[in-house]
């Protein structure tokens, strides 16, 4: 069963636009929600992460919005740039030893000129 559902599968945004990727989780024990960015031929790299004690976290052009009651969180990329074109993965994890990251299915973002 897919514990973290991610949408959309792919996204095309014009340069300067806002990219929005959504994730929903099922396990209420999850308490750490990162977003990873993966460029073609490279490994995923941590972009930004949030814990449930805050509803929003912003780092530069990247913002995570978190809705604990709805068990949803989303990534917003403001002023999207062609260099942001990559695959984005949301993930979830519960704090503790030997706790694993459960990834969403990924969103392929293309930012056009």
């Amino acid at each position: 069963q897919q514990q973290v559902k991610q949408s959309p599968q792919s996204l095309i945004v014009q340069k300067g636009g806002i990219s929005i990727i959504n994730c929903a989780y099922e396990n209420t024990a999850f308490d750490y929600f990162p977003w990873y960015q993966q460029f073609p031929g490279k490994g995923p790299a941590l972009l930004i992460a949030i814990r449930p004690d805050v509803s929003e976290k912003k780092e530069g052009r990247f913002t995570i919005s978190f809705n604990k009651s709805a068990k949803q969180f989303s990534l917003h990329i403001m002023d999207s740039q062609p260099g942001d074109s990559a695959t984005y993965f949301c993930a979830a994890k519960k704090t503790g030893t030997a706790s694993k990251l459960t990834f969403g299915t990924g969103t392929r973002l293309q930012v056009t000129l």
Partner: protein, 113 residues
Amino acid sequence: DTAVSQTPKYLVTQMGNDKSIKCEQNLGHDTMYWYKQDSKKFLKIMFSYNNKELIINETVPNRFSPKSPDKAHLNLHINSLELGDSAVYFCASSQDARSDTQYFGPGTRLTVL
């Protein structure tokens, strides 16, 4: 000065062969992981070692055997390769088994013919 490195980057082999993928991290981390990314880009954890001790073992065929000679290395040996083993395999590491942030290697693309 690569943080997490894997060799080889590409591996093409015939069905039934045995192959190994090597992973090394120079971050001084205690915990290392193997992930499989399938053709649809879905990332799933396979194994995790903490200080050479196996702590996560997902439902993986026993043809896959991880080996950790020391905490900086985690190798993956695959016996009797099958077509369905074709994927990109990522090694990752984290400070310790409770750490949330994982650092991924560049991946090894395995193609079984």
